[in-house]
């Protein structure tokens, strides 16, 4: 009986592992995140390596057209205002194919950034080469990176906080907690979280 249970557990584990391998790519916490050179709304190219004095980055895949992303715009601006000076600037990347979502094209991105007073770069993932490497699946989707001598290490993947509907009713500020921990030289307690978002739009 004991052997049977063990066998069942083993089969379960193996199938679970197999499934994880076949379905997921992209970064996990601990991986080194790729740098990029993407066009900002001001026409200039932006790379993580441009930020010589940064201690890390709050990379947020976001867009104009997703209601969840829109719901978080003010909170993303607040994150940059709070953490850019401390060494963790927000880098926003718009991952959608703009043929599928014209409301996310460069002109619309510029207009949105101006209207909302974005204080951070809002980059276009032109050619959609970067978001698949990160493994982003939706907007908004946050990756917190810590700059080390070995590269930018992924320290947190997930949501901004635990209440998309009402910023005043948030109980846990996932991103702030993670960056605060990194700034204090501590381990991030909650390394991954999940939230609903809009699937990243592609042609196929």
């Amino acid at each position: 009986m004991k052997t049977l249970k063990l066998l069942a557990a083993l089969v379960c584990f193996v199938s679970l592992t197999a499934f994880t391998i076949t379905t997921d790519s992209g970064y996990e916490v601990g991986d080194v995140a790729t740098d990029f050179s993407l066009e900002n709304i001001d026409g200039k190219m932006v790379s993580l390596s441009d930020y010589k004095s940064a201690k890390g980055f709050i990379v947020i895949f976001t867009c104009n057209t997703c209601p969840y992303a829109v719901a978080y715009e003010d909170r993303i601006v607040a994150l940059d205002k709070k953490y850019a000076a401390k060494g963790y600037p927000v880098i926003a990347i718009m991952p959608n194919d703009t043929d599928v979502k014209p409301g996310d094209n460069m002109e619309a991105m510029k207009a949105r950034a101006k209207a909302k007073g974005f204080t951070f770069p809002y980059l276009m993932d032109k050619g959609q080469k970067i978001y698949p490497q990160y493994g982003a699946t939706k907007t908004p989707h946050v990756y917190i990176l810590e700059k080390t001598t070995d590269g930018n290490i992924v320290k947190y993947i997930g949501a901004i906080d635990d209440n998309y509907q009402d910023a005043t009713a948030v109980k846990t500020k996932y991103v702030e907690n993670a960056v605060d921990a990194l700034l204090a030289g501590e381990e991030v307690a909650q390394k991954t979280t999940r939230a609903i978002g809009c699937s990243i739009k592609t042609k196929s």
Binding site: P67, A159, D162, Y164, R194, I196, C198, S199
Partner: protein
């Protein structure tokens, strides 16, 4: 990036079964009470029993929202499954993740305009980090997402469907 491995198994055995005349009395009651559409609103504890029924039926549960363009695009396919497979013990449940403030301004007008016949419920629970992994350990949280299950047999899909793809998946649960 997600890569879902879809095993296409074509089951043609059921295709010649005669189609019964559908009776949509119950659904009509829900969706067309004169002008007013009445929708049940659930948190995760309320939704959980609805997505874990063990009644011998095949359940197709689609998580969607009116603001989700690919969801809206595939909605007719779920409607077609609901009508074409009702007499084969298949039930469709459309779980709306629309924002509560838009139930009256967006969701209900949409359901009325599109004359949606499948059962629709509203799902409002902000603690997404609790219920997304509970619904499926592999779900990143992107919409659309779909569960097909019958008793203990269960499959989760974080993707958009064509009608053919959806029908193929449903048919895997029919024997």
């Amino acid at each position: 990036m997600k890569r879902l491995l879809i095993v296409l198994i074509f089951l043609t055995g059921c295709k010649d079964a005669p189609k019964a005349v559908e009776v949509t009395e119950q659904l009509s009651k829900v969706h067309h009470q004169g002008e007013a559409i009445v929708l049940d609103i659930y948190d995760y504890d309320g939704l959980e029993p609805l997505i874990n029924k063990d009644d011998g039926k095949v359940h197709v549960v689609n998580f969607w929202a009116t603001w989700c363009a690919p969801c809206v695009k595939e909605l007719p396919y779920f409607e077609k499954i609901n009508s074409d497979y009702k007499n084969k013990n298949v039930e469709v449940l459309l779980v709306s993740l629309d924002f509560p403030r838009q139930y009256d301004t967006k969701l209900k007008p949409f359901l009325k305009k599109k004359n949606i016949q499948s059962k629709v419920v509203c799902f409002d629970d902000v603690d997404q980090n609790r219920w997304i992994p509970a619904i499926d350990s592999t779900w990143s949280g992107a919409l659309p997402a779909t569960i097909i299950y019958k008793g203990n047999k269960r499959q989760f899909y974080e993707k958009s469907f064509t009608y053919e793809e959806l029908e193929t998946e449903v048919q895997q649960f029919l024997n």
